[in-house]
């Protein structure tokens, strides 16, 4: 179906070998990066793959965009089988990979767009018109004829998006579209992504920013160690946690044995810590089983008995980050 | 200071070992590069050396292979220096560490000297291999006063590395090392007499070649190793090399200081 992505049991293992002479003799080592991933993305949806570094997000995107050959499984994109009709798949897929260098720095923004437009099968005339429209839309018209090397990261990212949009594809694959951008540029890119969706395109994006997934995505698949561990609308995922209250604290010191004794408390399901170097404080996040507020005194009691000073304390609603913590016991950013 | 230079040289060696393609660049190239010219000269000399007399009349030696090997070895030295020393700052610039390194207290000059020291050792080694290869495998004869030859070599050193330093600063500004190396080494190749006796050049070209220090080194080494020259025979060349040493080392150091000052002042020269 137009604009639809069906992924069935897709898997990828990398073969890792040492360099040099050992190359010849060493046994190949299979390293699974993506394990039997399945999902279906409906037309007009923004679908997010949320996961920490090394989770297998880029690997998934590269398999779907035909740059990598899957080890197992299959995918149907826009009605074409990935393995059988790779050229047809590429014709309908606008892909933006991570990195500022996916476009030519020694060409201008406009030249980049026209170049990629014609490579996607547009006539030169069409590509020129399309490029102008896109430049207007990306708010790059006044810089369009400067070399890309003089652009800021945000502008480069917008040209990279433009490159994927110029041939009007029904589906876009975006690998970490806002990574490395300042908040303002990231905001701009997110707005653009929503606009693109509103035009009826299907978008698969990866991210490791949970707010981004939360705000932007209609549905989110949380991926860790190459496996999808949860898949639903962000709201539903959070609702499942709803009966669990969350406590955020900042404290002046932290030791593993304190963490252990808190984990030993029956009403606490999870606790994660994160050291803020500049301020010299620790941020803690604790999940309370079934939202048992009675657990709070015992939590504070442990801290008090260990001589930890609590500097702030709040009970909050869960975010996607908390969903991730709940599922894996670890924090997204590391 | 000496200690620091040695430390840097050691560091360069460690980096160097990680790139196997350098092995080819260093040990295969110097051996195969002179071949084209040697075989061409063999064709020009004719069956049974029919035209060797002509060559001897113009150049003063019948050992045309040795003649070319000396020219080629010295030219390759300059080529190697342009890439390595010339690219030294540019590589840092591309990596984005130029500014931070330059702003650190350790003098960049010490760094460059350390790197140069390392590359001098490498180059000596390569020269030895090439000369051995041609004298043992291809029976090219080198006779003459080794001491005098070493003197010429020692005087060539500062000219080559002074040029390298000058070049290093230039590249930081021009940002196109490939083209710059091609250009400079091309000029040397055309004018310095790498493959031919200077006598065959038209007057205006010979005038240009007088401004290239390598011309004198090649000329002197050929006289020493192929024509058994004495100190008196190469005195003119040696004086010119001395002069060039002073000019190029001073020029190189000045250009380096100037670039350093600009980096410190503006904080950046841009990357690409």
């Amino acid at each position: 179906m137009q604009g639809q992505i069906i992924v069935e049991n897709l898997a990828k293992s990398y073969v890792r070998r040492k360099k040099g002479l050992q190359y010849l003799f060493q046994k190949k080592e299979q390293i699974p990066a993506v394990k039997n991933v399945s999902f279906t993305i409906e037309p007009g949806e923004i679908f997010g793959l949320l996961g920490p570094n090394g989770a297998g997000k880029t690997t998934t995107i590269k398999m779907l965009s035909t740059l990598l050959e899957p080890t197992a499984g299959r995918a149907i994109i826009n009605g074409y089988d990935l393995a059988e009709r790779p050229a047809k798949v590429r014709e309908t897929l606008g892909t933006v990979l991570t990195g500022e260098r996916s476009i030519y720095w020694k060409l201008t923004g406009r030249e980049n767009l026209i170049y990629f437009g014609t490579l996607y099968g547009l006539s030169r005339q069409k590509a020129k018109e399309g490029a102008q429209q896109l430049l207007d839309r990306l708010e790059l018209t006044d810089r369009a004829d400067e070399l890309v090397e003089s652009y800021s990261s945000g502008m480069k990212q917008r040209i990279a998006l433009g490159k994927a949009l110029i041939f009007d594809p029904p589906i876009l694959l975006l690998d970490e579209p806002t990574v490395g951008l300042d908040p303002q540029s990231a905001h701009k890119v997110r707005e653009l992504i929503e606009e693109i969706r509103d035009e009826g395109r299907t978008i698969l994006l990866t991210t490791h920013y949970m707010q981004e997934a939360d705000r932007l995505c209609d549905r989110v698949a949380i991926i860790d160690n190459g496996e999808i561990i949860a898949l639903d609308c962000p709201q539903v995922l959070k609702n499942k946690l709803e009966e669990k209250k969350l406590v955020n604290l900042t404290v002046n010191e932290w030791r593993p044995e304190i963490e252990d004794s808190i984990k030993g408390l029956e009403p606490i399901t999870n606790i994660v810590s994160n050291f803020k170097e500049q301020e010299g404080i620790w941020e803690l996040g604790a999940h309370l089983r079934n939202g048992q507020k009675e657990a709070l005194p015992s939590l504070l009691d442990v801290l008090y008995r260990n001589g930890v000073q609590v500097q702030s304390f709040e009970v909050v609603d869960p975010t996607l980050e908390d969903v991730f913590i709940h599922l894996t016991g670890k924090s997204l950013r590391e | 200071m000496i200690e620091k230079i040695l430390l840097v040289a050691q560091k360069e060696w460690k980096i160097f070992r990680r790139y196997p393609s350098w092995i080819i660049a260093l040990f295969i190239w110097p051996v195969i590069f002179p071949f084209t010219y040697i075989f061409t000269s063999k064709a020009l000399a004719g069956v049974d050396g029919a035209a060797v007399d002509v060559f001897q009349g113009i150049s003063g030696t019948d050992n045309y292979t040795g003649f070319i090997v000396i020219g080629a070895v010295l030219w390759m030295w300059v080529n190697f220096t342009l890439w390595s020393i010339g690219g030294f700052l540019r590589n840092e610039q591309m990596r984005g560490t130029l500014e931070s390194n330059w702003l650190s207290p350790a003098s960049r000059m010490v760094h460059l000297l350390g790197a140069s020291f390392f590359f001098i050792l490498v180059n000596l080694f390569v020269m030895a291999i090439v000369v051995l290869n041609f004298s043992l495998v291809f029976n090219v004869e080198f006779t003459g006063n080794l001491l005098l030859g070493s003197l010429v070599y020692l005087l060539t050193l500062p000219t080559v590395y002074g040029l390298g330093m000058l070049f290093a600063s230039l590249v930081v500004w021009a940002k196109e090392i490939n083209a710059m190396v091609f250009l400079v080494r091309g000029i040397f190749m055309v004018f310095c007499g790498m493959t031919y006796p200077l006598a065959v050049l038209p007057d205006w070209m010979r005038a240009v070649s007088r401004f290239i220090p390598l011309t004198y080194s090649i000329d002197a080494l050929r006289k020493v190793f192929l024509m058994e020259a004495t100190f008196a025979d190469v005195r003119g060349d040696i004086m010119m090399l001395l002069l060039f040493s002073v000019i190029l080392v001073a020029g190189g150091a000045l250009a380096f200081k100037f670039t350093e000052a600009r980096v410190k002042e503006s904080g950046s020269l841009g990357v690409y």
Partner: protein
């Protein structure tokens, strides 16, 4: 995608290379004076062996004392060799390092279109260079295109196509080794040298001569010189031409196959853009 799309894509790739070329001004200037740099050392060398402008020793090997014509023909052909080698291998390495290679391969164009496309501009620059070298040679040395030009071009055409096949293999190797400079420099230099770009291969010592005779390109150099300068060829002209045609057939098939296999291997290993 139709063949018009492919042609248009190649046109775009050509334009892209042209724009990028103009953005490295030093390099652009250098490419134009390059021919002088490779001709001067051998020209002056020949003067060292010449009596009144006649390379007398050279004539004893080749039957012609017109050394410069011999060299210029050789240089022109070897320039095309390196244009194809560099055009395919080196530009691919640059793009692989920067990440645009993946962007290109995300487009629906077949890999072949990308490979062919990226040589076009190089071949054009080479042609311009050759024309101006020929003009220079005409004014300086009285070198002129003889009657054999048409025949010479016809003879070389299959060789040029065969070189593309070789270029594909090289592209595969670049993908695999992620290294290009030394590889291409060394291979194109060695091939040109051993095939006789600068001298009659008969001057080579026996063990190198064997390699030389095994390289079909040798017969390309030899045949063209036989046609245009009347030098004695290694084999009968017709035989040499036949070898070149066979070379073309074998190399194009082999090149396409090898590249395909390596490209698939890289797709499986994920080594195209992974650092």
């Amino acid at each position: 995608m139709t063949w018009q799309d492919y042609l248009r894509a190649m046109g775009s790739i050509f334009l892209r290379d042209f724009y990028v070329f103009t953005r490295y001004p030093f390099n652009a200037v250098f490419r134009l004076i390059e021919p002088v740099v490779w001709l001067a050392p051998v020209y002056f060398m020949s003067l060292g062996f010449s009596v009144e402008g006649q390379a007398v020793g050279f004539a004893t090997y080749t039957g012609t004392s017109d050394f410069m014509a011999f060299i210029i023909l050789g240089a022109i052909i070897s320039n095309y060799i390196s244009a194809v080698f560099w055009g395919i291998g080196f530009s691919m390495k640059i793009e692989m390092d920067s990440g645009v290679l993946e962007s290109n391969w995300l487009t629906p164009q077949p890999r072949l279109v990308h490979l062919l496309g990226r040589t076009l501009f190089n071949v054009l620059i080479t042609s311009i260079n050759c024309i101006w070298v020929a003009l220079l040679a005409y004014y300086l040395f009285g070198f002129s295109w003889g009657d054999g030009i048409g025949m010479a071009v016809l003879t070389l055409l299959p060789m040029l196509i065969a070189l593309y096949g070789l270029g594909f293999i090289l592209a595969g190797i670049v993908l695999l080794m992620r290294e290009a400079n030394t590889l291409i420099d060394t291979s194109s230099y060695l091939v040109s040298m051993l095939a006789g770009a600068n001298f009659p291969v008969t001057v080579l010592p026996r063990f190198l001569l064997v390699i030389s005779f095994a390289l079909p390109i040798t017969y390309g150099f030899d045949a063209v010189r036989g046609i245009m300068l009347g030098t004695k060829t290694l084999l009968p002209l017709a035989t040499e031409q036949l070898i070149l045609v066979l070379f073309m057939v074998v190399m194009t098939v082999l090149g396409a196959m090898v590249f395909k296999v390596i490209e698939r291997y890289c797709r499986r290993m994920g080594t195209i853009g992974y650092h």
